[in-house]
Amino acid sequence: MITTEQRAEFRKRFRYNVNQRLITDKIVKIIVFACVIVAIIPLGSILFEVFKNGSAALSIEFLTQIPGAIGTGEGGIGPAIQGTLLIIGMSSLIGVPIGVLSGIFLSEFGDNRFGKTIRFFNDVMAEFPSIVIGIFAFLLIVLVLGNFSIWAGTFALSIIMLPIIARTTEESLKLVPITYREAGFALGIKRWAVITRIIISSAKSGMITGIMLAVARIGGETAPLIMTILGSSQFFAGFNGPMDALPLRIWRLSLLPYESAQAQGWGAALVLILIVLSINVGVRFLFLRNRGKASFWHPRREQKWQR
């Protein structure tokens, strides 16, 4: 038991160093803030530069024409835009379903040795250098088919997307408390229905974020595209030939020594950023607009029920 005198002694000790702790607190706060600013500065400056240099090049012609003769500053990046949209779309068609299903498997059925192994390989794949994946796709698809094609590009990009989506899906599903699954089972609802109709709708937000991250990632990948779709100055010409994409076009334009080419390069970069941004906003709007209706759930908001 602590006596009254002891208590008074102890109190003196705590209250003594309060000022020191307050100062430490402030210093750490400042340091943390500074770090955040330091982290944001590059991002901010990139965005600023791209907008500054790229907006000048924008025009309808720029967005819809094929590239003109090198150095003339005529033409546009129409094929590249089309190519990027096509390849993002096709890769997502493969990568998203497989990734989500893998994530569901890992979260709901993966609490065992097999699951651990899958998870391990998933993480390894996520860390693969994308150029290695590009070479792999080159060897497997391009050489076998005999030509550069969208198949190869899709193959490479889906491999890059998969681990990201699988992991984020798994994590989002794991965030949903077990009690909702139990409630579903207690109602005699089949396992798969519990997962798709109850759990996934709760985890929607996190899953969409993961998918958008993956889409943004592959939207900007350049190295694998070099080996798989090669690039082209024409609009999409079929599934068995090379095609253009924005990262490739940006790269090629930036290597040219002409001012006009550089300007077009900035424009292309701006367009790429805008495309990724609008996909993000659009998807969120479409899938998460039920906020008013049902998505009141938030881990911290659970405290509300105690009222």
């Binding site: 609490d111 408390p177 009690t179 909702y180 139990e182 409630a183 579903g184 089972f185 207690a186 109602l187 005699g188 609802i189 089949k190 229905a193 519990v194 109709r197 109850i198 709708s201 709760s202 929607k204 039920n290 209706k293 049902a294 998505s295 009141f296 759930w297 908001r301 509300k304 029920w305 105690q306 009222r307």
Partner: protein, 269 residues
């Protein structure tokens, strides 16, 4: 003459089984190597409330979860024994647990309405997600269940609002309505009022009193006064064993077992 005697014997055994809606026979349940329920046998009467009391960790919740085969969903959880619902063993291998879980509803300690669903959808979840499509029937069931839990008047104009927008006591009643929607015959309640304020608790208890006219209710509770108010029969468990079982009045006025007397008088646990 002998044939006649045999017949009366078996019919009386049958009627015994019929008097008891649920019979848990020799249930032994464990998590990994830890045995949580040790060879417990209890008979639960139909259209009555049976309470399971005991200190934390005595196995009452585990036993409850064995009754609707939820225990085996936990990793490394094992259970042996039989659970007879109207004479039919739920654990015989021929039966898919899903079917049985629809006969036995469960309400959990913390209210857990499905977060992305409205009030209406929550109550209808067990129906819709099990394949029922007839909207008229669903409407009727939802309304009936919400009335049974005395929630209808409070929410009838807000059925599309999210389930989580209700207060704690209302959410718990919503969960009970959800459990009732699948028309179970037995209702299992795991400390249903322990996270609620006294007024909400009172409402839940009044509701249980009404429900027991139609359902067999088995309730696990920490609160002995609640067990006294609400239940007809009480079982006291300690460290996995069923120490004593009998009519609530007898358990609390004149417990036969020394351990039971100590527990109900607050001398431990």
């Amino acid at each position: 003459m002998a044939a006649l005697t045999n017949m009366t014997e078996s019919t009386s055994a049958l009627s015994e089984k019929k008097k008891y809606k649920v019979i848990a026979e020799n249930i032994t349940a464990s998590y990994d190597e830890v045995v949580a329920v040790k060879n417990v046998t209890i008979k639960f009467k139909d259209k009555a409330v049976t309470a399971l009391i005991g200190p934390s960790g005595c196995g009452k919740t585990t036993l409850l979860r064995c009754l609707n085969r939820m225990h085996e969903l936990t990793k490394n959880a094992t259970v042996t024994g039989r659970v007879l619902l109207d004479g039919e063993d739920l654990y015989s291998n021929a039966q898919d647990p899903i079917i049985h879980r629809r006969k036995i509803g469960m309400v959990f300690q913390k209210p857990n309405p499905f977060p992305t669903m409205s009030i209406y959808d929550n109550v209808a979840a067990g129906l819709k997600l099990n394949g029922l499509r007839d909207k008229a029937v669903i409407d009727e069931i939802v309304r009936g269940c919400l009335q049974m839990v005395y929630l209808w008047d409070e929410v009838k104009n807000d059925l599309k609002k999210p389930g989580m927008s209700l207060s704690g006591g209302q959410q718990q009643r919503l969960c009970i309505a959800r459990a009732l929607a699948i028309q179970p015959e037995v209702l299992l309640m795991d400390e249903p009022a322990s996270s609620l304020d006294p007024i909400a608790t009172q409402k839940i208890e009044e509701m249980i009193n009404e429900l027991k006219k139609e359902y067999t209710i088995i309730i696990v509770t920490h609160n002995m006064q609640q067990a006294m108010r609400v239940s007809d029969y009480t079982g006291f468990m300690y460290l996995g064993d069923l120490i004593e079982f009998g009519e609530t009045r007898q358990i609390f006025e004149n417990p036969r077992n020394e351990l039971t007397a100590k527990y109900v008088q607050g001398q431990f646990g």
